[in-house]
């Protein structure tokens, strides 16, 4: 293991330990409720940018994957009373399949066509779920949580920890991809697809791989949301907000490095959570809009890019 790998895994271990200790010590529930949402967006943004960031294929269908994750859980709970780990695994499997199908169908298309196709896919899936009476259809469905298992004494605390695990998983995968030949291949095809092909990069296969991994992770992230809300309805599960927010988070953070989406998600999700409980009105939406515009105009490489530029300048100053 290289030094940076050791540092990364040590950091991940410390993070998980801290999350775990928090679930055991903190009695106030709010940090877990709000923290869950923030963690969920981190995982979504990281998963999204595997395809959207590294490969440059903008997936508008985050909400489709997220929603399918939610409804995979709803179905499993209703049909078999399946436990949480199984829900997440099933979600991931569904997501991988969906990613594969989406990829096969659309990845031959150039950039923006792919994006449009993902919008279409979202609507098709949402309509299908809306018409599926077994999982509640348009009317939505209320779900009973099972008893919480030790060592947690509260379900939301457990979900918080589970979501933290998913974040670590997503980041580890994203980091691995970036540092491996896969990441280099994706970066090459994002820069220039034909040049990449002519340099030996199997672009279609790599894109499919990215699509499958990204899809599996996004669905897995959605799966525990059914238990978090104890309620699911198509309009909320397939909300456009998920698609736009993950896109925004990745871009605000920067897509050049695996840490970009994390930073972006922390900044934007925390801001949104804070605004929800402070200003709390349409200004909230306005802030998202203004942040998006300011960042893509003023900091095209995101916060990561800003930091790099600052460092670069300082380095030059010293030299």
């Amino acid at each position: 293991m290289t030094r940076s790998s050791i540092a990364f895994w040590a950091g991940a271990a410390v993070f998980l330990a801290a999350v775990f200790v928090m679930t055991q010590v903190v009695g106030n529930q709010y940090p877990f409720f709000a923290g869950y949402i923030i963690l969920q967006f981190i995982a979504l943004a990281v998963a999204w940018s595997i395809l959207g960031g590294y490969a440059g294929y903008v997936n508008f269908g985050t909400s489709a994957f997220y929603g399918v994750g939610v409804y995979a859980s709803v179905f499993l709970v209703k049909a078999f009373g399946a436990p949480l780990p199984l829900q997440i695994l099933a979600g991931a499997a569904m997501g991988a399949l969906m990613g594969l199908a989406l990829g096969l169908l659309t990845l031959r298309m150039q950039g923006i066509f792919f994006s449009i196709a993902t919008i279409a896919l979202t609507i098709v899936i949402e309509t299908a779920i809306t018409n599926w009476r077994y999982v509640g259809g348009a009317a939505g469905i209320q779900i009973q949580r099972p008893e919480v298992t030790a060592p947690f004494d509260n379900y939301v605390q457990m979900l918080f920890f589970v979501q933290a695990l998913l974040v670590v998983l997503a980041v580890a995968i994203s980091r691995y991809i970036q540092n491996s030949w896969i990441g280099r291949g994706l970066q090459a095809l994002r820069d220039d697809e034909l040049a990449a092909e002519c340099t030996g990069v199997p672009t279609l296969r790599l894109k499919l791989l990215a699509c499958v991994i990204s899809g599996a992770l996004m669905c897995a992230v959605g799966a525990p949301a059914a238990m978090y809300l104890q309620y699911a309805d198509p309009a909320s599960a397939f909300n456009l907000n998920y698609s736009v927010s993950t896109l925004a988070m990745s871009l605000i953070g920067g897509t050049a490095h695996w840490s970009g989406p994390i930073i972006g998600a922390i900044v934007l999700a925390t801001t949104q959570q804070l605004l929800t409980v402070t200003i709390s009105s349409e200004v909230n939406v306005l802030v998202l809009g203004v942040m998006l515009v300011l960042f893509v105009v003023g900091a095209p490489d995101g916060i990561i890019g800003l930091i790099a530029r600052l460092r670069g300048n300082r380095g030059k100053g010293e030299a």
Binding site: G52, G56, V58, L105, T106, R108, M109, Q110, G111, I112, F113, S115, I116, A117, I119, A120, L121, T122, I123, V124, T127, A128, T130, N131, A138, D191, L240, V244, L247, A248, L251, T255, E282, V283, V285, L286, L288, G289, V290, M291, L292, V293, F295, V296, V297, P300
Partner: protein, 293 residues
């Protein structure tokens, strides 16, 4: 339930509805189809135009279509400015313009949404005119005048835009810029100027499209979200940049939707049209009337 009468009726209504979809997509067909600008704020501009029309209709009793015409110069200038901003910040910098452009236009769309809410509130608004709420009777058939207006406006806009693009110098330059920017640069014309002009035209068209939107159905500030999918689908299905193709694709979409609404499970209507788009993209990525090989 099946009857020939109903089917015929569904087709007629579908064609008219499709014309409406076409009319609200034409601007996008220029801005996205010809100029490759990922203009996801197109529907937000559209709703903004509807509110402008509403304002004129409500306070000065201006006919909605006339109001739509009146705001086109304003929207033209607005479009010029929007493209300039987009160009300076994205296109000029080259790669990745599409991804950031999408985020940028989403941001713009949200800002417009909120500004409308702050100015007009969240209630839905509609306009009044003689042709709203009445229908043309043809024997057993009844066709709402609203939709006939949509039909007329859509055809007129399509014909005008097609003529403009093929007959005028500027129009041909716009077509050329869509094909090959380099060639145009060699000819000594500045492609940026031409694209800016074209984006202005695309936005100006939205003035009339916006009027149509509020004539056909009431609008509310967040209506734009429902039209992102629809308008992009029409443009992509048509194949980028063909005005006539846009209208035809929109009509196909309208007819499909109308038939499903009438004959089969209505709640499947959106899935049908978008599945159709997915199918077309899978088989024929350049769209039905695509310019790209």
């Amino acid at each position: 339930m099946f009857s020939l009468d109903l089917l015929l009726d569904a087709v007629v209504i579908g064609v008219l509805l499709g014309c409406f979809y076409g009319a609200v997509s034409l601007g996008l067909s220029v801005s996205f189809g010809l100029l490759d600008v990922p203009h996801v704020a197109h529907p937000a501009f559209l709703v903004l135009a509807s509110y402008a029309v509403y304002f004129l209709n409500e306070h000065y009793a201006v006919d909605p279509l006339l109001a739509g015409l009146l705001i086109t110069p304003v929207f033209f200038v607005f479009g010029l400015a929007a493209y300039r901003l987009y160009y300076e910040t994205f296109e000029k910098r080259g790669s990745d313009a599409a991804v950031r452009g999408i985020a940028f236009f989403f941001g713009i769309a949200f800002i417009i949404e909120v500004l409308i809410i702050l100015q007009f509130g969240v209630d839905q608004r509609s306009v009044t005119a003689d042709y709203i709420g009445k229908a043309l009777r043809l024997g057993d058939f009844r066709i709402p005048y609203r939709l006939l207006v949509a039909f007329g406006v859509a055809t007129a806009l399509t014909v005008l835009l097609t003529l403009y693009l093929s007959r005028t110098f500027m129009g041909r330059a716009i077509q050329a810029v869509a094909q090959d920017q380099e060639a145009l640069r060699l000819m000594g014309t500045n492609p940026v100027k031409i694209k800016q002009w074209a984006f202005g035209i695309a936005t100006a068209v939205l003035g009339i499209s916006g009027a149509l939107l509020i004539i056909v159905a009431p609008v509310d500030p967040t209506l734009d979200r429902a039209y992102i999918g629809r308008t992009f689908c029409v443009v992509v299905m048509a194949g980028l940049g063909s005005m006539g193709g846009t209208l035809v694709a929109a009509i196909i979409l309208g007819v499909a939707e109308s038939i499903v609404l009438t004959m089969f499970g209505a709640s499947w209507a959106p899935a049908i049209s978008f599945a159709m788009l997915l199918g077309i993209l899978a088989v024929r990525p350049q769209g039905l009337f695509g310019r790209r090989s």
